[in-house]
Assembly symmetry: D2
Homo-oligomer: 325 residues x 4
């Protein structure tokens, strides 16, 4: 399917049709809470570790601080980090500890989706239904996600990472423009240009670089959080399903192209990917340093560890993903 | 040095003497901000990746929630996780989104040292002096750690992990009693019992299991946060320095034995390890599942990735460490 | 009705029967959001101002800090207050402001019901129904109380305060024991002993002192938050309704006696008072200094201003009540 | 002194000279922590209560929510209010309480200076010196304001309020333009126009309306938080001192005119008013409804109660001021 084939007036119909085609409900049993993470097993993880060639490591996390992109929409602020004790106090002699020891301590308040993160399976619902066909109101209450909380995948997300640098392959000066819908064809072309190490398959942790973060870093955040952005086309739903990847992450706020490809819509690909495919989505990842390294030697696969902070019942969680090449 | 040789009335003297012996100040230049993480280079990381044999992965993080050990001392609470939107609201039709999409979002407020964490180099000072000889008041102000913030090691902490299960090797039923001081001799004996895979050396991420968390899990938290605990003896300072490990983590609140080995003291080994050795300390790690696996096949080394959440200027940070065997 | 007449095995029945007798639903129209605050009009407020005789003022708020009674139950912590900037930083010269100005700023994270507070009308429901017969799920969603948020009474709570010091009138050494159920008869006896200034009527802001806070201050918090306590008997529901008071506040965590007067129950008087009477409940007020002054001159009425912090959509709110005698 | 007499290049000199003229250091003893609140005694409070004529009450607080003016500068966000439990959950049957009771609870995280507030005496320093000549680093550490925390005036702020509606008296359509410096002459002219009830004197709680909040409410926040604004001229320092008012509050973010009246400056009048006069400043108060009522009947005095939320050690605090006419 191509973007041109979408009926722009009927996102609900498109979601329903796609959901029907790509549903993984029941694939791993009625009790499953890990969705596509089931594709990432010990064998694949062992094979992925063998991809380490130089031992160079890359953090794919943005910094967590008030300089982030959030503007308060839906009460999403940037992280507020404050000190309980400081070195200034210690030098000043205020701390009351013995034998000259001094210390500093700190506190944070933040939305779990404020910066580099995973969307958990409880983050998005389709008509009140969550992953694996569960009623959303039985899954996520005011107490949090009682079933598919992010802690359920605390130990699994380490495996083969593969970078598709669509910005470099298809864009201009390494960047796709805002509103650019990445199609299956673009993905295929990127894989082709990048070569054999860029093949995408079962259990992979797929990283898609658009270059938007590079642009935001250069030009200022602007509407990075929620505004126009390059991203995956709604039409990639079948490819996301068919490749049997374990997860996908991008360098944008919202993974899919914005404005969305319907006249009145809000993140329709999420509505298919999370509750129906059971796919984990990473957002606001910083792929630039890794992408530079991959471009330099032409190797686009690596060992990636990205265990979310296991906040019990969280529907998403901050993460410091580490790629080792 | 043995614990019996310590002058219990003079922690300041003991700290000063040890600091003199083990100081790494200047070792990596005047501008260094990574301390012992300098030992963990790409070569060692590459070699560590080769330790992966089965691909089984273990999260060494406790869950982050209100059921944690904190009691409010020094304003350290357990994490408060609240929902901005829920599945109940989505089912109820409150969210105002189009085409049947619904969502859940969440927020957290927590001390950065509330649960499984890294102490950064700005966490502890000796007489107002921080790592590498910097005045603490030039390092950590109300704005955070301006020099050695945890983000400076966001990308480095992936390498060879080695577990010393002192609880199993020396303790009873896998647990050391509270107040048990782990000496260099105990460490050596544990290494000997565990065999060749337990050798400890340059650049390693050393995990020491005492069994106290096992006990707390069984009997309740009690005074786990700050109370009596097994832990490293002050006398291990030279060993911690001499092994050239990159970091050490334990399953206890405070890494070193408590009560401390002086009449009136507070965490004297921290005062040597962090500002003088430049050593990273991990606390409240959950080593139990990993320890069981190691005991089963007798292999105590693995690939460990433990990148801290890169909160800018943090003096410590939560982490979800992932061990792959 | 006396406590002895309650069927301890049937709280649901008792709640239903009381609710039927005391309901104010519709009394102020279908759109009403102020409940019993409707009794407190400008005329009564003007008359109350005339009660000021000396101009002495009393804050009835506890201090908001980590030394409060909360223990984390249902994620209710004590307030965490941290500094964004300090005088130590200012002296140290870190702030970067011109012409010698320095400053300090601070942040707080807290449950709105952590200390001295008002329960708003959205705080408690009876079988899913909120004040004035509204379905609770149409009133309080994850976005807060959309109808009866505490901000709706931001301007109204100033009027005649009257103190019933039941602790002094009925108790021993000014204190009622934990588990003591204050009945209508105890209230009447207290009024009689205190004299004419203690009459209770329409539009009054009634303060009931049990002495439990005095005890907690002396002996430690113990189970002050949620444990056994003196408080209003379930049987006072009709009196609370019939007096046409605007609000009632106590020096205890939960206003009503605990353990509750049924075998298996949780705050049944709340279930009648808030959704059915539309009554505002104040909890954890510090009445001791005021009570001492009232006891000294025998005057138990005063001008009371207790506007809640108007957090939009809050179901309760902290308050610093000020009594002027 | 007129604004034209200020040397725009020398704010430090102007501050020093003004401080010398208006200092109240020692006026109430070396231990004083209440500054100008000492002017507000019981006699004046009693007299103020007699000003109540109709009993109408006005809340002068803005609503506390994410729609406020803050933009994150210096980590000042708008309040983040989240629910621990909701009516939707209660209806849904998730709460596990007996006999049909359901409840809602909530949490807030916010800077104490995010909305309608008092600046405490620990908020601003002059060359590292706080109110009454104390070294700022002995007053406000990471533990908060150890000396003049806002809780020290928890019980005092109730007395005669007087509104100077400079917007209506001097401005156009009730509003002063941004950058308009209100001088002593403007204040005098306003008093003259408003008549006898607008006289300002010892112990008064003075409210100055500029109309900027009216404009922000109409046109959007824009740079209300920290940007250009009408406000008190630096040259009013002597008048603020000489009138012996207890406090002053405005409807603007920062009380004094912005841009400030020097080439390179930041809030120089604060630097005189708080540490030297010991004056309490209220900011972001909503004076519009009260001003309309005052304009209607020509009476500009009333009974004002504005006890800050007594957060221990806070250098400022949110408040819901209640004016009763």
């Amino acid at each position: 399917m191509n973007p041109g084939d979408l009926d722009r007036t009927d996102p609900a119909g498109a979601v329903a049709a796609a959901a029907k085609r790509v549903s993984n409900w029941g694939r791993w049993g009625a009790d499953d809470v890990r969705g596509t993470m089931n594709f990432l097993d010990a064998d694949r993880r062992r094979a992925a570790a063998a991809l380490v060639r130089t031992g160079e490591s890359y953090s794919l996390a943005q910094r967590f601080d008030m300089d982030g992109p959030q503007k308060g929409w839906r009460r999403r602020t940037n992280p507020v980090h404050t000190m309980l004790d400081t070195g200034v106090d210690a030098v000043h002699g205020d701390q009351g500890f013995p034998h000259g020891i001094g210390g500093a301590d700190d506190v944070i308040a933040m939305p779990l989706q404020c910066s580099t993160q995973w969307d958990g399976l409880g983050h998005i619902f389709d008509h009140g239904v969550a992953w694996n066909g569960r009623p959303a109101d039985k899954v996520v209450t005011s107490l949090g996600d009682l079933v598919t909380g992010i802690e359920t995948v605390a130990d699994v997300i380490a495996g083969r990472g593969v970078l598709l640098d669509v910005g470099r392959a298809i864009g201009t000066d390494g960047e796709l423009p805002d509103g650019f819908a990445i199609t299956t064809e673009h993905l295929a072309r990127t894989i082709e240009r990048q070569g054999a190490s860029a093949a995408v398959g079962r259990g992979d942790l797929l990283l898609v670089r658009t270059g938007q973060l590079t642009r935001a870093r250069r030009d200022g955040w602007g509407d990075y959080a929620g505004g126009p952005a390059p991203g995956l086309s709604f039409t990639t739903a079948d490819w996301l399903h068919g490749t049997e990847i374990a997860a996908i992450a991008t360098d944008t706020w919202g993974f899919e192209v914005r404005p969305n490809e319907f006249d009145h819509a809000f993140q329709p690909l999420h509505q298919v990917a999370i509750p129906h495919i059971g796919l984990f989505l990473g957002e606001m990842w910083d792929l630039d340093a890794l992408a530079t390294a991959c471009a330099a030697d032409g190797v686009y696969e690596f060992f990636l560890t990205a265990g979310p902070l296991p906040v019990t019942g969280a529907v998403g969680a901050p993460v410091n993903p580490i790629a080792v090449r």
